[in-house]
């Protein structure tokens, strides 16, 4: 059958070639075209090149759906992100995007695409058709994590490793993060540290743990100021309420840079000096922090690397290899505070 005559013009009037069309043009069978385009050695180099040239020349585009159908895989990894800043402030910072960048780069290089969804949209058919799953910023939604796990897809999670959990987890070393801040405070001679943050996030709970344990080695017990929001206002509020309660303190570990900046501001407004009277360390090393007055010390994580790792691990799982959870080291960036 001559297919050429039956082609439907697409919305722009151009024709979309199929392998059958190319085959006819080249005077070979379509399977040969298929092999040639995937650089199979089953086809002579000469025909292979001839067909590839022809494909380029005519702007041939592989029909992904057809290939996916035949191969029974979608070459797609679904990434589930928390994108409503109103719900989870953690995600209201640039890093998820950097993480996404790392993921995207690595997956694209491996011939996979990134399907982006929110937790809500994750029930869509396309997500279930994905070959793998990456979960970002779902720390507070452990139930959701388990629900996704039930899909039975290769899955990797960004966050903090729980005891009972069996998933593959990649994340910064929050325990170490807490510990190095503790050591820093001790080295500075601080004896009355405060922790500000929301420990119901597993990651932050770990930071707190690392902080508390490392301080305990020096017989110091920090004060926990629980604050749920990751905003400067929340940090200011924490310091004000410390002051109102008449608590004395000489160091603050805020589990986010925004909190830290708010805390510094409040501290200074109350007539104390930073870092003279009070040392402050934040978390995430946001670009603004470096230009804050005074420049903010902070714990830095390598987000890009995290993304790369997440991607590599799903790919490994997809290809039937085994992987393990991995914890990325963090570094303390000491600036003025």
């Amino acid at each position: 059958m001559s297919r050429t005559g039956k082609k439907q013009p697409d919305p722009l009037g151009s024709m979309s070639l199929t392998m059958a069309d190319l085959a006819q043009l080249a005077g070979v069978s379509k399977i040969t075209v298929s092999r040639a385009l995937s650089d199979s050695p089953l086809v002579t180099l000469k025909t292979r090149e001839r067909i590839q040239a022809l494909a380029r020349e005519h702007g041939y585009k592989l029909n992904v759906s057809a290939r996916n159908l035949r191969l029974r895989r979608s070459h797609t990894v679904a990434v589930i992100v928390e994108m409503k800043p109103s719900i989870d402030r953690t995600m209201f910072d640039p890093y998820p995007l950097v993480l996404l960048g790392g993921i995207s780069q690595e997956l694209t290089a491996a011939g996979y695409s990134v399907l982006l969804t929110t937790r809500q949209g994750a029930s869509a058919a396309a997500v279930q058709a994905a070959d793998g799953l990456i979960l970002l910023g779902q720390g507070v939604h452990q139930d959701a994590v388990r629900r996704f796990d039930k899909l039975g897809l290769p899955m990797v999670v960004w966050g903090s490793r729980g005891k009972g959990d069996t998933q593959i987890v990649v994340g910064g070393d929050n325990r170490q993060g807490g510990a190095i801040v503790a050591d820093h405070f001790v080295a500075m001679g601080r004896r009355h540290p405060v922790f500000i943050g929301n420990p119901s996030h597993p990651e932050i709970f770990e930071r707190l743990n690392g902080f508390v344990d490392a301080l305990a080695l020096h017989g110091i017990k920090p004060l926990l100021m629980r604050r749920d929001e990751f905003t400067p206002d929340s940090g200011m509020d924490a310091v004000h309420s410390l002051h109102a309660r008449g608590v004395t303190f000489d160091a603050i570990f805020a589990c986010s840079d925004l909190l830290a900046m708010g805390a510094i501001r409040a501290t200074m407004e109350l007539g104390h000096s930073v870092p003279g009277d009070v040392s402050v360390v934040g978390y995430d090393d946001m670009p603004v922090g470096a230009s804050f007055m005074p420049p903010l010390s902070s714990v830095r994580q390598d987000w890009q690397e995290g993304g790369t790792l997440l991607a590599r691990k799903v790919l490994a799982l997809i290809n039937g290899h085994s992987t393990s959870s991995e914890t990325l080291p963090v570094t303390l960036i000491v600036r003025s505070t």
Copy 2:
């Protein structure tokens, strides 16, 4: 043929049902199943419900590839983002994520998925298979925009409308943004304003234009401090070099909050007061700005709304309707500076 016996267990040992399987279970033909699942009135309500229940019970999942192949569309919109912060600092802030959130929400609701890529990865087959294209943060890469346009896909761009461009563009009203800042300065009695930023970004060029034109109405000509980076350091540097040149100024319009904060810091370090001697306004209204000392005035854009709009417009194009470019109003948030 009895298919049941031939099923391959997936990696987890569960079987993936097809419509044919469901059909056999229900004792109907597969086309009836297809119709029942898409709620077609061509099937009796009773059978329809019976089949739907059966599908739920057995955890049937539609094979998206097969449907896409048959329907000749992918139900996918590719979003091309600049994700390398090292390359483009504009993207090193939370907003692209909010934009993505709006896009994702809207597209998911319409049954479409979001395929996320970088400019580099956009040549991948999956992108060309998308039903539509959304470009984010490609302002400086007009050549890239035109290249994507050549794909002939329904396309919508976030950014600033160029004169000769024929694409559908959605973006904040940068001209207005510049103008309201100018008016604000004039109302404050400022006569010697400075603009800091990189006008080779079309968006920022517009801000500058709006600023200059609105000031011209009052016979004021601002000074342009061209700075390519969107960092606080860059803002500090700009102010320092103004000082070194002996220029006097009483107002600064920085085209990003980070620049503004750097500028404020430098101004204060040089012994001037903000806002006493110098008024400063930034752009984007970052959360940190509100807690900066002094709290930063800034121009705010509605990113979530922008995302929603971008999505609606591609969908319109995909469905063969016509749309037009749209410019979103911005608001000046006046705080202390």
